[in-house]
Every structure is written in structure tokens, then in C-alpha cells.
């Protein structure tokens, strides 16, 4: 799959368009920070890791070919940075797992079947899963879902804030819901397959 929007953004950043750089930073900084924060709890370390990740990404942006989403590509750099940090600390193998390969994620998904019996820990894990799925969605999908379902904003209000038409918001919401469900469902299917 070729991620044409990501490639287009990368090309503009490489051509030194300041607006493109701002867009790149605003889209990915928060996501990478959360990605790092789920693996390294200290804020100061997260800051260093994300900064190093983005600096390395900027240096190597010309190598991005669009085989994976830009976020996936950035996460790989971030994983390496996290690993390097752990190794410098104490030689431990870091527990850096992919979203769909994390035992905690799986445990949380298993608990979905019985929402009423969730413990605090499982509920916390579920929160993390939902938030990670949101981060893995294409740009604006997570944002529009939060505006709609958490801030309870009307379509017109969302349209105004995002500077797009109401029809475009409805379309975006529909695609975002589908993508969110698909992301979640894929993980859920994996769990049910494992459980047999």
C-alpha cells in the first residue's frame, strides 16, 4: 500500500516548507509522546526519546518510501530509541511490544466480553488500548472521534474548528468510526482465535 498523503507531506517537509514542518510536528509529536509514555514512565526520559526520534526522522526523512504509514515508520525509530535508552541504563531487554503483540492489550480485550466484571487494572488497560488505537488511526480520525464522542460537539461546531464543511465532517466521522472499529476488531478476532 502506498500512503500518498504521508508521502506528500514528507515531500513538502523535505522542500523546506515551514507550514509542512509545523503540520508534521503537530500531527506526530503528541502521538509519539504517548507511544513513548506507554513504555517509559518518566516524563523527562519521554521528552528526550521523542526529541531524538523526531530529530533522527528529520535527518532520514528522505528514506521514507511510503511502504508503511509515516506514524508506523516513526514508531520504529522511537522503539529503537527506547531500546537504546534501556540498554544504556542497565542492559535490560526493553519491553517494547507492538500494539497487537502486547499481552496487556490482549488481556484487556479479553475482558471486553464481560465489561461488568472489570477490575481497575483491566479497565486501565482498556483505556490504554482505546487510546493507542486512536493514535494508530490516520490523522484527524482520532481527533474527530474525540470531538464528537468526548466533547459532544455538534457537526457544525466540529466543521468550524476543523475548517471543513459539515458534509466533510460527516464523511470523516463515518470513515473514522469504520477505521476505529476495524482496528479494534482485528485485535479482538486475534484474541478469540487464540482462546479458541
Amino acid at each position: 500500500m502506498n500512503h500518498s498523503e504521508d508521502i506528500a507531506l514528507v515531500k513538502r517537509v523535505l522542500k523546506k516548507e515551514r507550514a509542512a514542518f509545523n503540520e508534521f510536528f503537530e500531527i506526530y509529536f503528541s502521538r509519539l509522546y504517548r507511544f513513548s509514555h506507554t513504555r517509559v514512565s518518566e516524563e523527562r526520559i519521554c521528552e528526550d526519546i521523542v526529541q531524538e526520534t523526531l530529530c533522527k526522522a528529520i535527518k532520514n526523512l528522505g528514506q521514507y518510501r511510503g511502504e508503511a504509514t509515516l506514524f508506523t515508520w516513526l514508531c520504529q525509530i522511537c522503539r529503537n530509541e527506547i531500546y537504546t535508552w534501556y540498554r544504556k541504563q542497565d542492559n535490560r531487554i526493553p519491553v517494547t511490544t507492538d500494539l497487537d503483540d502486547d499481552a496487556m492489550t490482549k488481556a484487556a480485550l479479553e475482558s471486553l466480553a464481560d465489561m461488568t466484571s472489570q477490575s481497575e487494572e483491566e479497565r486501565h488497560a482498556l483505556e490504554k488500548v482505546v487510546q493507542l488505537v486512536l493514535d494508530y488511526l490516520p490523522n484527524n480520525y482520532g481527533k474527530v472521534l474525540e470531538m464528537k464522542y468526548l466533547e459532544d460537539l455538534a457537526v457544525q461546531e466540529i466543521a468550524k474548528q476543523m475548517e471543513i464543511s459539515a458534509i466533510a465532517v460527516q464523511s470523516l466521522l463515518a470513515r473514522a468510526r469504520t477505521a476505529f472499529r476495524r482496528g479494534f476488531q482485528e485485535l479482538y478476532n486475534e484474541i478469540t482465535a487464540i482462546k479458541g
Binding site: 523535505l14 521528552e47 496487556m104 457537526v155
Partner: protein
């Protein structure tokens, strides 16, 4: 701001999304001061980058660039090493050392990084831990001579090493006078002493390429497989426990585990890998709880098999080891 007079755009079918998002709440927003600091630094990095393109090169342009590059290399011979990036030039990183060791020939360590072809010789009290690839640890015992080369090739000339590569995406090739030993994501040791080669597989699968044919060693259910091969390619297979004392020396060739602020989960992973035990959580609840509990203090030289009891006794977790060498972790009643 909510507008109540708006016609609903969705029906009950979006309740699942609404419900999940409301359980999760808003995503963590990085602190503004952190965002501003990182922004300034990344912007500075970006501003200092030359204008580049990520266009795909054709074979012809690649040839042309390669020719120019070669010419440039010849022209500036002497400084060429610094053009190559770390990943191409260095083949490992010295993560720990105790006792005496030396690097033979003209090769030198560069800030603990090993250049391609570096040959290490450990003294009678020397032990090392060298990291290769992304997650593989190579422990080197006393009186061992080994070369590190690119493509994760370890040329073992004499002595004993232990390889721990937890990722199935990684594997190393240990070249011995008897033939190469290869693995993918496993734990094993290779020992060249006297007139024989001893390969002991603690976890996973290892292949040995002898002149007389291929041998495969497999460890499972807590049973490690050991093969002793003579110079005549005659071999004997035996089985030992995956927590056998033959691997006790590996703890002396690595830095002490840093307990302070580690999660119980990370600590258990360390214990299980160092001890050759398979980590099993009695319940998902136990798994999640170990990820959320943090430890304090230090191990003060305790080996993993001693540390597990001592450390867990201060927590709400308990453990037991089964005959199949499984480390079962549970929440104490």
C-alpha cells in the same frame, strides 16, 4: 459546545464507539513546556538540514552516484571511516566487562563500539557482555578468543560464549573450526575446549553445519539439548535441565540488574531469561498487576535464582517452578 437542535447524524450503531471512547477518556496531552522545548530543538534540526528529495533513483542514476562516490572516497582516502554511519561500521557494543581483556591487532574500541573484525581475547579473570544487532547479548567467558564481524558473524577461535537473542527477527552465526552454528531467537552456548565442540541449546532451535551434514538441536519443555562433537565429527546428544549449572557463569558476564524503579514484570522477564525458565502468569490479572508494581532497592550481587524469592517476598506476588521449568507467578491470597 453542544447544539441540541441538530438532527442526529448517527444512530444506535455508533454506541459502541461512543462507549469505548467514554471509558477511555481523552488521550494524554504532553505538557506544553515539553512540547515547546521539543519543537524548538526539532525545528533547529530541520532548519539545518539541506533541501533533499525522497524521489526513487533509477539503476542508472545509482551507478552514476556510486561512481562519483567511489572517486570521492579515493580522493579523500584516510578520512573514509567517518563517512560511514555507525550501523555499517560497528558490529557490536561492549556493554559490560570485568577482569582483563584485550583487543588484538590494530583495532580499537570507539566509545565501547567494536569495529568490524575486532578480535577480543579475555584473560583468566576476564568476562564480557557484547551487544550485537538490536537485542542480542553475547556473553564471553574467561580465556576466550573471538572475532566480531559484520552480518552478525562471531568467529569463535577458542573458549566459551553464551548467546541470548530474544527476538525471532534476529539470529547470529557462530563460526567454529567444526562448522557454523546458527540460531534464530534463542539462547545457547558454544564451547571449544580440548578436542571437542560443545553446543548447548537452552531455548529454541539451533542448526550446526558439519562437513558430514547438518544437525539440529531443539530445546523444549524445560529440557535443554547438549551436543558434543569430536574433530572426527562424531557426536553425542544429551539432555539437561534448562536451569542447569553449566550456565551459572553467564551472570558473572553481565551488569547487575537495576532493580530501582523497575516493574515487577521486567524483573520477572530478567529472572526467567537468565535462569532458563519459562515465565507463566497464573491469571491475566497477575500479568497486569506485575506491570503496574514497581520495585526499589538493589540486588547487591544476588543471582536470579536467589533474587526471585527475596524480591517477591516483599510484594503481593508469589512464584513456584514446575518440573517443566516454568516460573509460575501468582498473586498471594
Amino acid at each position: 459546545m453542544k447544539q441540541h437542535n441538530e438532527k442526529p447524524i448517527t444512530d444506535d450503531r455508533d454506541n459502541d464507539v461512543r462507549r469505548l471512547l467514554n471509558i477511555a477518556g481523552r488521550r494524554l496531552a504532553p505538557p506544553k513546556d515539553v512540547r515547546d522545548r521539543v519543537f524548538e530543538n526539532v525545528l533547529h534540526e530541520w532548519e539545518n538540514q539541506p533541501i533533499k528529495s525522497n524521489k526513487t533513483f533509477t539503476p542508472k542514476t545509482i551507478q552514476s552516484i556510486a561512481a562519483s562516490f567511489l572517486l570521492a572516497l579515493i580522493t579523500i582516502a584516510g578520512g573514509w571511516k567517518f563517512i560511514l554511519n555507525d550501523e555499517e561500521f560497528f558490529v557490536g557494543e561492549l556493554a559490560f566487562s570485568s577482569g582483563q581483556f584485550s583487543i588484538l591487532g590494530d583495532q580499537k574500541l570507539h566509545d565501547n563500539f567494536l569495529p568490524d573484525g575486532a578480535m577480543i581475547h579475555t584473560g583468566e579473570d576476564g568476562r564480557l557482555d557484547v551487544h550485537v544487532l538490536k537485542t542480542t547479548s553475547v556473553r564471553i567467558d574467561v580465556s576466550t578468543q573471538i572475532s566480531f564481524r559484520k552480518n552478525a558473524e562471531l568467529w569463535l577461535h577458542s573458549g566459551r560464549i553464551y548467546v541470548d537473542s530474544p527476538s525471532t527477527n534476529e539470529g547470529v552465526k557462530v563460526i567454529t573450526p567444526y562448522g557454523p552454528v546458527t540460531d534464530i531467537g534463542t539462547q545457547f552456548s558454544v564451547d571449544i575446549g580440548g578436542n571437542e565442540l560443545v553446543v548447548a541449546v537452552r531455548e529454541g532451535l539451533v542448526n550446526i553445519d558439519l562437513d558430514s551434514g547438518k544437525l539440529a538441536l531443539n530445546a523444549e519443555n524445560g529440557r535443554a539439548e547438549v551436543i558434543t562433537i569430536s574433530k572426527e565429527d562424531e557426536f553425542i546428544r544429551t539432555q539437561v535441565s534448562s536451569s542447569d549449572s553449566r550456565w551459572d557463569w553467564i551472570h558473572l558476564a553481565a551488569a547487575e540488574y537495576q532493580l530501582e524503579n523497575s516493574t515487577v514484570h521486567d524483573f520477572l522477564i530478567w529472572v526467567s531469561r537468565e535462569s532458563g525458565l519459562k515465565l507463566v502468569f497464573e491469571t491475566n490479572h497477575a500479568l497486569i498487576a506485575t506491570k503496574q508494581a514497581r520495585l526499589h532497592g538493589s540486588l547487591d550481587g544476588m543471582k536470579p535464582n536467589k533474587a526471585i524469592g527475596a524480591i517477591l517476598s516483599t510484594t503481593r506476588f508469589g512464584s513456584r517452578v514446575t518440573e517443566q521449568q516454568e516460573l509460575i507467578v501468582f498473586i498471594k491470597q
